[in-house]
């Protein structure tokens, strides 16, 4: 039932409604609203009950194992939430003077410094509000850099075929042509393809490392050399930073710019699809182009750097300074981890991924890159299973929901057929992984003995398999009041 279906005309929630205003004559009649406002008329209790019950229809980290490759679904510490929501932090207006936000700005400044250290970069700006916006900003800086040197013929960005869709989409948004290069059998970028692709037209290369295939690009130093030699810059997509946190710094690999998905590596909540946050880090030569604002510390006083301080800045990308509350959560998280804890993130993310890969291999699943170490994630391909039984990766994913697990990422990266991209994250225990393997084995068995049952999954979720095609064909994007009142 929709919230609108709980509503009745004239029902009101009095506690949330101020007294009627006496002065309403300030707005010309012609500008006043005449059409009805379709918000639900419900009591406070009915709203609370409705949304509490809705919440229970979600899978989440707080209730299920969520081995969703490329998304880094790790535990979101509850302290990060409550400390970012201290009343004074919540009440602070974004345009309040800096002198009224020294506590907040201290956290932001320290977070910048920590992220610089972790990534090996010379500067960090916290403003990007999501990974894709971090990419946009990063590529815009690359463009600004080339333009500042009068190097305006560079109009191509190179992207491996295993990359996230955001990479090519971002390059286009920055006015670039996309050159896609292939992956070799081992899961690395095809070096010959890279060499063939670079040239005076190359503005840069966007790379995710470890890649979305779950392996570390062994030739990254060589790639850096090739691209830099051609005059291009290297962009590091931080989606998989969790795999190498405290092990390898992107700056040391030769990258010029990076975005860091705080909602992955730094455990800020995914929130059912956001808010994210993706600070960008830059090497020395890109410092003049950083987006504003950036926090500076001057004799113990914190202040925002603006266009006045960074005149070549690519500008502002959000109305204020990005997702401040998310940044506070990340700050609390890094302080809880500390240096030692940060080293261990990658250790145990890798241990969990390699263990789960080994165990699933032993259980009879085909590993896409069996000769490679898993990074923090790895790929299982069900090509053969599908050929033998008709059961697809999607069927297995849905059947996992019945077993109480969120599904792994399916059909990404696109180049591995019938793939499941599995990322357990470091916060899961061995028992959880073992229980997951048991369920995966059961499904494998079911696929062979009762394939139709598996294809019909899920059975235990609030709804069964939903009709996507109907959704797209018969668009129903907003509820309409029935002609007869309910």
């Amino acid at each position: 039932m929709l919230i609108f279906e709980h509503a009745r005309p004239g029902r009101r929630n009095y506690s949330q409604s101020p007294a009627a205003a006496t002065k309403t004559d300030g707005i010309p009649q012609s500008l006043l609203r005449k059409v009805p406002l379709l918000l639900p008329e419900v009591s406070e209790m009915d709203a609370v009950r409705h949304y509490t019950r809705l919440s229970q229809k979600n899978f989440s980290i707080d209730t299920q194992f969520y081995p969703l490759g490329s998304c880094t679904m790790k535990y979101n510490p509850r302290a990060c939430n409550s400390l970012a929501m201290l009343p004074q932090f919540l009440a602070r207006h974004p345009r309040a003077p800096e002198s009224t936000g020294q506590g907040f700005l201290a956290c932001m400044y320290e977070l910048q410094e920590i992220l610089k250290d972790v990534t090996g970069m010379a500067g960090v700006s916290l403003t990007p509000m999501a990974g894709a916006q971090g990419e946009l900003i990063g590529i815009a800086m690359i463009r600004a850099y080339h333009e500042s040197r009068g190097d305006t013929a560079r109009n191509e960005i190179i992207v491996p075929d295993a990359a996230h869709g955001t990479n090519p989409a971002t390059a286009v948004m920055c006015g670039y042509k996309v050159v896609e290069i292939a992956t070799d059998k081992e899961g690395d970028v095809d070096m010959d393809a890279l060499k063939a692709a670079v040239g005076p037209q190359t503005a840069g290369l966007m790379l995710t490392n470890p890649s979305t295939l779950g392996v570390f690009e062994k030739n990254v130093a060589e790639m850096s050399r090739i691209v830099h030699q051609a005059g291009g810059l290297l962009y590091y997509d931080g989606a998989n930073l969790n795999a190498i946190l405290g092990k390898v710094k992107p700056g040391d690999m030769g990258f010029d710019v990076i975005h860091i998905n705080l909602h992955k590596t730094f455990s800020t909540p995914h929130g059912g699809g956001g808010p994210g946050s993706a600070p960008v880090g830059v090497a020395e030569r890109l410092l003049p182009f950083m987006p504003v604002p950036v926090v500076a510390s001057e004799s113990g006083i914190y202040r925002w750097l603006t266009e006045k301080d960074i005149p070549q800045s690519i500008g502002r990308l959000s109305a204020h300074m990005g997702n401040a509350g998310v940044l506070l959560r990340a700050y609390v998280y890094v302080r809880l981890l500390g240096a030692e804890g940060m080293h261990r993130v990658a250790d145990f993310a890798a241990l969990n991924a390699n263990y789960l890969m080994a165990e699933l291999g032993k259980a009879g699943f085909e590993i896409a890159y069996p000769t490679r170490r898993a990074s923090h994630e790895f790929i299982v391909t069900l090509k053969e299973l599908k050929e033998k039984t008709g059961v697809t990766a999607m069927n297995v994913a849905k059947r996992l929901l019945d077993k109480g697990y969120h599904a792994p990422t399916t059909y990404f990266p696109l180049l591995v057929p019938e793939c499941l991209l599995i990322e357990p994250a470091e916060t899961e225990s061995k028992e959880t992984l073992d229980a997951f393997v048991v369920s995966m084995k059961e499904i494998l068995e079911e696929a062979h003995t009762q394939p139709d049952m598996v294809k019909g999954a899920p059975y235990s979720t609030p709804v069964r398999k939903l009709d996507d095609v109907k959704a797209a064909r018969e668009l129903d994007l907003a509820w309409k009041q029935p002609e007869e009142p309910v």
Partner: protein
């Protein structure tokens, strides 16, 4: 090892299964030359007790002020239920609802949100949110260019929030899109329809129409919208959603209604929180739905015929369409939209109307009182919603600092944005201000300007 559950026994058993001797072996494909993650700027771990004390002290350093700043972020009362429900683990710690059957909570809520926003803006459809108001406006500009085909120029009034204008420029410039500014009327603070005559010869993909505008002033939206349509440009409304409880929504502007409505969703239950996370909203006419970026939820049925909700029209999106996507956007601001949806359900239409009209009334009351102060003047004569520009008889910066020492944030100093206005501040009084608050403000301002 915070947040790592592994016991020593677990580690050994797992390594044995993998066939590795140490955890370091798992990183043996990384060239040794690259390794070396020593972290000098990262302090040692704090316990939760220690970081709690630190954050509490920092929050107390920042204090609490009686706030009269608006300028795109507005202080409204947020019902306690909103965030108590929003931060439930099932909303807070869930991912994007790609697995629809395991995400009906989020999906149904987003469908309800889309319904509410479509009604609030008077549009046919809404997406499931954008990053913030400024970036939503930039995406609307890109959308207009995509759908227009022949023009890559956007007409932008100078009454649009100055930072929104910067953000639009930063986002669209690399695609060769021009943003052309329209000057405002120094008397009314509006974008006069007459001022558009100067642009009558050129082609534009869209005209942006703020309501209320950055000065808090109400624009002549009907005439502006009709002019855009007459020019075959899209009319993009950039609106305060709270104001729409009282104001004619973009879908009703002019003869045909605006084509796209965007704005900052923060007034709908999102805390000020130093500027974020907020959420942008975007709604449009049905004809434009396939040009709209961002996630969209559709209602459908499951295999038993039971209604359910899914992400739909994903073919527009980057994870399917890659370099041909409508936008690179992936994340939205789901959790903020969760809060906003609960906020709108808790206030309902009458509650929202009253919050808007009390904000309006407070601002008018404050204005009356301020005009009683010597040397304080309202700058523009256009009608306002809940914000206004006043000129002060001394340097705005000094006067605001004096007010601050009384725990009052008196408004936004406009000197950086509109130096032509002299010593001017933008002041907002929402429903949160009591008669005593207004008296305090006027009293202390009176002292500050004579000091």
């Amino acid at each position: 090892m915070p947040f790592i559950p592994h016991t020593e026994e677990d580690i050994q058993a797992m390594l044995a299964s993998i066939g590795a001797k140490t955890i370091d072996d798992l990183f043996d494909e990384i060239p040794p030359a690259l390794k070396g993650g020593s972290l000098k700027q990262v302090p040692p771990a704090l316990s939760e007790m220690e970081i709690s004390r630190l954050m509490l002290e920092r929050a107390e350093t920042d204090g609490r002020y009686l706030n009269f700043i608006g300028a795109g972020a507005y202080e409204h009362h947020i019902p306690a239920a909103v965030w108590q429900i929003t931060t439930r683990g099932e909303f807070y710690s869930s991912y994007t609802p790609y697995q629809a059957e395991a995400s009906q909570g989020t999906l149904q809520l987003l469908y309800e949100y889309q319904t509410m926003m479509a009604s609030l803006t008077g549009m046919d459809v809404s997406n499931a949110s954008m990053y913030d108001g400024a970036s939503a406006l930039a995406e609307a500009a890109l959308m207009a260019v995509r759908s227009h085909k022949s023009s890559r120029r956007i007409l932008m009034p100078a009454t649009v929030h100055p930072i929104y204008r910067s953000v639009v420029r930063a986002i669209v410039k690399n695609q060769g899109i021009d943003v052309v500014e329209i000057p405002y009327c120094r008397e009314s603070g509006q974008t006069l329809p007459e001022s558009l005559d100067a642009f009558d010869k050129e082609e534009f993909a869209a005209l942006v129409i703020p309501q209320p505008n950055f000065f808090g002033v109400l624009e002549q939206v009907d005439a502006l919208t009709d002019w855009a349509h007459h020019k075959n440009a899209l009319a993009i409304g950039v609106v305060n959603p709270m104001a729409l409880a009282l104001l004619n929504p973009p879908g009703e502007w002019g003869a045909k209604g605006a084509d796209v409505a965007v704005g900052e969703g923060q007034p709908l239950g999102i805390p000020l929180s130093s500027g974020g996370p907020y959420f942008g909203f975007m709604a449009c006419k049905q004809a434009l739905v396939r040009q709209m970026p961002g996630r969209i939820i559709g209602r459908t049925t499951d295999q038993d015929g039971k209604p359910g909700f899914v992400l739909t029209l994903q073919a527009r999106e980057q994870h399917i369409r890659r370099s041909k996507a409508t936008s690179n956007i992936c994340t939205n601001q789901g959790l903020m939209v969760t809060a906003a949806t609960i906020y709108m359900a808790l206030t309902g239409p009458e509650g929202l109307r009253r919050i808007a009209s009390q904000s309006h009334a407070n601002t008018l009351t404050l204005l009356e009182k301020l005009e009683g102060l010597k040397g304080v003047k309202r700058i523009f004569n256009g009608s306002v919603f809940h914000e206004m520009v006043i000129s002060l008889p001394g340097p705005a910066g000094d006067i605001l600092r004096t007010l601050k020492s009384q725990q009052i944030l008196g408004g936004l100093n406009l000197e950086d944005y509109y130096p032509e206005l002299g010593s001017a501040i933008l002041v907002c009084a929402t429903e949160t201000k009591t008669p005593a608050d207004l008296e305090n403000y006027v009293g202390y301002l009176g002292q500050a300007i004579t000091a």
